[in-house]
């Protein structure tokens, strides 16, 4: 879809600088916590698994990200709760 429309005027072309910065941010987060992308995925799954044992959550609305601000890494989890577990 995006390929089809990408010739349209006003469509922002991503240059290799932006790609480089995104890839760098990702790989540095992984380096700093010393976990692979796969391990981070597993950690997220387990986290969701634990929380859903206690409350009913909206799996489509989950947003768990590993980011860094300054030289500090941070795990942020936004998990919408639908209600109590019955």
């Amino acid at each position: 879809m995006s390929g089809f429309f990408s010739w349209l005027p006003g469509q922002k072309k991503t240059n290799s600088r932006d790609v480089a910065k995104d890839r760098l941010q990702l790989v540095l987060v992984q380096d700093r916590v010393n976990l692979s992308a796969q391990q981070i995925g597993e950690m997220k799954d387990e986290l969701i698994e634990v929380i859903s044992r206690y409350v009913e959550i909206d799996r489509d609305g989950i947003d768990i990200t590993l980011t860094r601000s300054g030289r500090q890494s941070r795990l942020t989890a936004d998990i919408p709760i639908l209600g109590a577990r019955h």
Binding site: N15, S16, R17, D18, A20, K21, R23, L24, Q25, V27, L28, D31, R32, R68, G70, R71
Partner: protein
């Protein structure tokens, strides 16, 4: 007098540590400072050729540490500046010939007689790097604006931070204005943003570095060299001066655009 020991290091090899050490040492000496540059890249000696002193070597760093010669005998006087000296690396040895303690002891013997002691570190995170940073008061981390170099720089910064006792600053080397301008190179801001340490210099990719390395005469001694100017600026900042950063990101300042417009 008590010297400031500055180690120039990087994660990835070939990013410009030796070039930076030679140029910053020369620039400091040209400002009238007493400077000694130590090549701690044992087995991969290079600082001597970049400074044009390769024909004057008799003794080296390992000879001093092992007591084969006295410290003064291994100090080579620079060709161009009266208050600049080089202690070359041993070429036929490896990094295990030195310990961090040796480097601390050696620099302590010189601290009283100099203003600045610069140490050219080998790349990487092993013994040679540990030797080079052991005596440092400040660390300059050199990187190019490339994903692999910045990634390795991050690793080094992490290790230095873990030691907790150094102040480290970043030098972004080999910036290509044309590539940054068309969006095909990480900008200095991007690199600083990702690494989150303070910036002390931005050096353009410049053919004058290749020419001056061919000649064995650091670019800071040439008036027209843009990279030479960038290294002189770093030296000035090391002495505590505030020097504005060169504009290398293609975002011309208003004044520059104005002067271009009117062909001033």
């Amino acid at each position: 007098m008590s010297a400031v020991v500055i180690t120039v290091t990087s994660g990835k090899g070939g990013v410009g540590k030796t070039t930076a050490t030679a140029n910053i040492s020369t620039a400091l000496a040209a400002m009238g400072k007493k400077v000694v540059a130590i090549d701690a890249d044992i087995g991969l000696r290079n600082l001597d050729v970049v400074m044009g002193l390769e024909n004057r070597i008799v003794y080296n760093l390992v000879d001093v540490v092992e007591g084969t010669c006295r410290l003064r005998q291994a100090m080579i006087k620079d060709k161009y500046l009266p208050e600049l000296y080089l202690i070359p690396a041993a070429q036929s040895r490896d990094k295990t010939a030195l310990t961090p303690g040796d480097m601390i002891e050696l620099t302590n013997q010189m601290r009283e007689d100099f203003d600045y002691i610069l140490i050219d570190s080998p790349a990487g995170i092993e013994q040679g790097f540990k030797n080079a940073i052991a005596p440092a008061d400040r660390v300059l981390i050199v990187t190019t604006p490339e994903v692999s170099a910045v990634r390795d720089a991050d690793r080094i910064i992490g290790l230095i931070e873990a030691e907790g006792k150094y102040s480290s600053d970043l030098v972004v080397n080999r910036v290509r204005v044309d590539l940054v301008r068309r969006g095909d190179m990480l900008s200095t801001e991007d690199v600083v943003d990702v690494l989150a340490i303070s910036l002390i210099g931005v050096v353009p990719d410049d053919e004058s570095i290749i020419i001056s390395t061919n000649q064995g005469r650091p670019a800071v001694l040439q008036n027209g060299s843009l990279a030479g100017q960038a290294f002189r600026d770093i030296a000035a900042r090391l002495t505590g001066q505030t020097v504005p950063f060169m504009e290398l990101d293609g975002h011309d300042s208003f004044m520059k655009r104005l002067s271009k417009l009117f062909k001033l």
